[in-house]
Symmetry: C2
Subunit: 308 residues, 2 copies
């Protein structure tokens, strides 16, 4: 099966503690490695979990709080030092460009590879990247400063041919592509061969959404509707919902409520406050509302779809 | 004995590998914690080794290559989040101020404690900080961009009184301070009491110097003359001296040559290239020239003076 899975590099909120690290994760989508957020120490975490930086061609930054991007300059510099030549695309708030330029100016760094910056739009949903099989988009979240979530969708795939059947019936090659698209084949003698009889249905497209940081807010529900895996921040337990609102964060209970409301198949909690050494209570709280919940653990891979 | 010692938080050059971290160290000078350089992940290293950020009131940044300062914004932000109220002084290249301001502007961070920035001078030696017992100065190094080393000196201390002797002789209190300064006491009857007989000599002032990053260069030798402990970068083995020159770094052999020439009592090697998993050859190379050499190890404290 084509790989679609998430590796957690950091699941901590702003003050890293208990060997948890600031936010960062790798999404392996069909062998493409996307990096989502890049908190301080991300390059070390990548090294720890055996991910070569050269495998990453697209980096998505949600917002400009330090725990989500302070590892970026270090990672980009190291890629320069190890001799990277291939393009690297960074998607993030417009001001990130200024931050990177200030760093590179004062360190007199002239990257030996093309760094292509794509500003995100904090006000509306937008497609950032589209390949033959995947689509990555950003959508507005509601945090203390401009912030976007990200969603990765598999595109509809064509059906797979029932090879033996097709060969037995001697269907001409040009029609095979049409059959895969669901178009029936009509032979010269008028016989109709139904596409549905000659193909296996394609796998249902899978989808992943990333929501960190945000206060719970219906405005982003449409953007993450029905995803197979939802990573949602759950900084606090619900007894601190006031603190959560004040700091534009979410509680575990709320994260679960989001997952339930948008019809997510599975919920992955993250962005845990340094207040909690033991995370089990956050998991239990979320499960009281939405059973298919897991605590994100650094170093673990989580499958998107199918297995739920 | 009054504490004067160095804790290594990171001894790696630019690309962190083998669980070595970018450059950073704590100098405990008489109970004051100075942070010298602050590579990415410094706050995590501080946490790992049990150093509270609130103990640090002075941070010294040598230059603006990422591996020497990319942990600074995260550390300053975390200090804000944990409710720090006391002044924090940062000494570094003038452009560091712009870098910090850009970060704080875009993350909409308004520190709740006073952050006082002191620009260093890359062209001449300067005293940055002076207390009753200590003096911290910067001096020019020669790197690809402006860079300074740092030197911490204990000041001369007064002698200690031989208490019993002084009491037995009934020397009036106002004269005790003078005795400690080496001034003899002449009694009303004309008897002379020699200061040297009534006091223990003060301990010899100790000194520490930090040189990273730099190409070996006589211009900074005067500034580090005779220090008890010299931390000197030794990025490469001497078979790569060309590469060292090209990147404005030093080899182990050169670091040892510096220590020997300036009459340092002990040499501590650091800033190791990711090229070397095993550091023993760097140590052996340095010891062939300067015996009192040690490899800096992360998490270890190194005494300044006396013990050598």
């Amino acid at each position: 099966m084509t790989r679609f899975e998430v590796l957690i590099l950091g699941n901590s909120s702003a003050t890293p503690k208990f060997d948890r690290h600031p936010t960062s994760q790798i999404v392996n989508a069909h062998g493409q490695f996307f990096l989502i957020d890049c908190g301080e120490g991300t390059q070390t975490q990548l090294y720890r979990y055996g991910i070569k930086g050269t495998r990453i061609n697209h980096i998505f930054i949600s917002h400009l709080h330090g725990d989500h991007y302070l590892g970026l300059v270090g990672l980009l510099s190291s890629q320069h030092l190890v001799g990277r030549k291939s393009e690297l695309h960074v998607y993030g708030p417009p001001a990130l460009k200024e931050i990177l330029e200030v760093h590179f100016k004062h360190s007199d760094t002239h990257l030996r590879y093309p760094l292509i910056f794509h500003p995100t739009n904090p006000h509306k949903q937008e497609v950032l990247l589209e390949t033959d099989h995947l689509k990555v988009s950003s959508f507005p979240l509601q945090h203390r400063i401009d912030c976007t979530g990200f969603r990765i969708d598999e595109k509809e795939r064509p059906a797979t041919l029932k090879k033996e059947e097709v060969e037995r019936l001697n269907i001409p090659t040009p029609y095979l592509r049409l059959l895969k698209k669901g178009i029936d084949y009509v032979a010269n003698d008028g016989t109709v061969y139904l596409a549905q009889d000659l193909t296996y249905p394609p796998p249902t497209p899978r989808s992943y959404a990333y929501c960190s940081d945000t206060v719970m807010n219906e405005n982003y529900f449409e953007a993450i509707k029905g995803v197979d895996l939802l990573y949602h921040e759950s900084t606090f337990l619900h007894d601190r919902v006031d603190r959560a609102k004040e700091t534009f964060h979410t509680t575990s209970l709320e994260a679960a409520e989001v997952a339930r409301t948008v019809g997510a198949k599975k919920l992955l909690l993250g962005h845990f406050s340094a207040r909690y050494r033991d995370l089990q209570p956050l998991l239990e709280e979320a499960r009281s509302v939405f059973d298919h919940t897991a605590l994100s653990e650094e170093g673990s891979w989580y499958a998107v779809g199918y297995k739920q």
